[in-house]
Every structure is written in C-alpha cells, then in structure tokens.
Symmetry: C2
Subunit: 217 residues, 2 copies
C-alpha cells in the first residue's frame, strides 16, 4: 500500500446529515477519501453507470427507501464484485448480519461505533479485504453450528443413513438397494420420519436435514 495513494470510498445512505458527517470523518483519516454519495441503491446504480469511477470501498446503509441495503449489496456483488462493501446499520441481530454477509458484504458495523473503529475497519478492509468485528465473528461461527434446539430427535443408524441418501437424487428403490433392504422397509422409515418430524414430503425431509446439519452440501 503506497502511502501517497488514497483509497476511494463511496457512501450510500439516505440520511444526508449522517452521510455528510461520515464523509468529513473519513476524509480526516489518512489515505481515505470519499468520492461520492448516493441516497439509495437506485441512485448508486445511476452514479456508477454513467460516471465510470468505481470506489474501492462502499459504506452501505441498510435501511433505505426505494432500494435497500440488501438489494443493493446483492446488485453490487453481482455487478462489481471487486468493490468492498461495508454495511452500516442500527440493528445488530444475527439474522440481519448473516443476510448481508450472504450477499457478499465484507464487513458490518453499527452506526454508533467509535470513529477509531471505523478507521481500523477501513484499513483492514483495504489491506485484508474484510473486517470482522467480534459480533460478526461470533455470528459467522454461530451460522455453522446452529443451536440444534431440537436435539429431541435421536435417530437410529439406519434412519440417519436413509435421511442422508434421501437428500440426493436417488429413488427410494435405489436407496433400498444401497441399504440392502426392501423398498417397503425404506417406505416404513420414510413414513415414520414424516410423522415424527411433521413433514409432508421428501423436500421437507431435505430441509429438515439441512437445518439440523444432518447433511452438508
């Protein structure tokens, strides 16, 4: 990172007062410079599509009218994946964080953090490509090991095997052959599981297995 080079930053936030002060703050950091604002996702698209300048980093508010942070993040990673997006939000619930991370966001900050943290985040973002606050790290970890609220169900070996095989394009008949059992026995497993798990069909079983981490893609 050459010290004389400034990293360019774009801000997307409908709250112009906040955006202005954010710009001042960022310009006061060494090596970072705000090059534009946008009021929302649509506005951002226009800005990007006629002026050909792309910022390296975009600070993206989530709550916006017209085209919110989720849609905007999706569009950005689809059309300009090289831009590092840092989400800014008031909410810090895991679900929102994950939703943004899944859309390719490289970091997630609460709006009321200390300026110094924003500086750190920007620096890490341009050096390492991402910034993970403690909350984000925990959320990420958590997303892999869901709470398994219902460890109520414990499956027997055969049931587990069946479930795993059912989460594929195999036919029940084929599964029966693989498990060396009669198709009727397999049908028995199926029926029993459907009842216990209160599901209606095989797709329901797949969804269940995925939610409980019984299988992984």
């Amino acid at each position: 990172m050459r010290p004389e080079t400034n990293h360019t930053v774009g801000i997307v936030d409908d709250h112009s007062l906040f955006a202005r002060s954010l710009e001042k703050l960022i310009n006061s950091f060494p090596h970072f410079q705000v090059i534009f604002h946008a009021k929302n996702g649509l506005h951002l698209q226009e800005k990007i599509e006629d002026s050909n300048v792309l910022p390296e980093i975009i600070l993206l508010d989530i709550n916006m009218p017209v085209m919110d942070g989720f849609e905007t993040a999706e569009w950005l990673t689809r059309h300009h994946p090289e831009i590092k997006v840092l989400a800014l939000s008031m909410q810090d619930d895991e679900h929102t964080i994950l939703k943004m991370l899944r859309r390719g966001v490289k970091g997630y900050l609460l709006k009321d953090i200390h300026p110094e943290i924003l500086n750190t985040a920007l620096k890490e973002l341009s050096e390492k490509g991402y910034y993970h606050s403690q909350k984000v790290s925990e959320t990420l970890l958590h997303s892999l090991t869901p709470d398994e609220e219902g460890r109520i169900f414990d499956f027997k070996e055969n049931e587990l095997t069946f479930i795993k095989l059912a989460c594929s394009e195999l036919t029940y008949k084929e599964i029966a052959v693989m498990m060396d059992l009669s198709p009727k026995t397999i049908d028995g497993y199926r029926q029993d599981l459907f009842k216990r798990l209160k599901i209606k069909n095989r797709v329901g079983l797949v969804i269940f297995a995925l939610k409980r981490n019984l299988i992984q893609l």
Copy 2:
C-alpha cells in the same frame, strides 16, 4: 478472569513427543495448565468418562488413528459442548477447516505457528470463547459466499420464484395457484429447469438452489 485461577487444558494427539513439548509450552504460559493427554478420541472418551475432571479447553489433533479429530470433535460438542475445542493440524485447506468448524470447534491452528500465537489463541479462547486466525475468518466468510462458478445460469423472475417455492413442502398444484399460473405452465418450468441444470428430480433442484444460494434456510 481471576488471575489466581488456572485454565485447564487437555491435549489429544497421538504424537507423544509433540504432545509433551506442547504441554511444557502451555504450562509456561501464565494461567494455563495441562491436566491430561489422550492418544486419540477413544482414549479421550475413557479419560473423560471415568475421571470426572473436564478441562475447559482441549487441543485436538486432526490426524489420528482409531478415532480422528473429526469424530472426536463431533463427540465432544455432542456430549460436552461447554468444552472449547481448539483444532491443531498440518493442513490449512478451507474444506478441512470448515469440516471442523461445523463440528463445533472454536478455533483452528496450524501446528507450526509461533508459540506466542498459541498463547494469544488460548487467551482469546477462554475470554471470548473462540479464536479466529485470519485464515479461519476468511474461510468462514468464504463459506457464505461461494464462488458461484456457474453464474452461467441466469434465471428469469418467474423461474426464480418457482425454484424458491419448489424448495418447500408445497405441491406443484399449490405453487401454480400461488403464482397464478396453470399447473401445466409450472410443469413446463420444472421440465425446462431439470434439463438445463441436468437434475433428475425435485430434490436435485433443492440441492442446486442451496448450493447457489438461491434460497436460504
């Protein structure tokens, strides 16, 4: 964290020379003390099940005969989820890391790291509950936003809606009603998608959608 309290550590590694030196190293850190070794997962189970002492932290090697790190991690999170497991390994490929993290491991270190990093990791582990090296953070982030190698497929609005609805327990007839289309049209979508995506049945479609992040659970 009371300074007079030592954090207890267990080591699971079949390589006794390495385990010994690791123990010495850890005992030299302030506030950490190794209370036992195990040669592999089975050995660990025995140790835990008759002696009633549980360590706060377990350093777990992955490559072991008899019962390897994966199985052991699975067993530990299932039976003693309060123990913080730190995986130790020679490999640093994303797949292995994810496999361990999915099994509830709280950190992942390469065996050839600097002792000071191990100290940091242990401290973070007992304070925050996890330790994420840069590699682990990147892997976690990566796991949410897969490469989408096949952005080849671009789906029309209706197809996408159909896919999403097909990843549920709805029947095609019900989906038709919801999309305000004839069941036959829905069947057309289905058939077309099966051909394009080279899948055999609805489960295949669900798997596809999940792999490409078209839906989220």
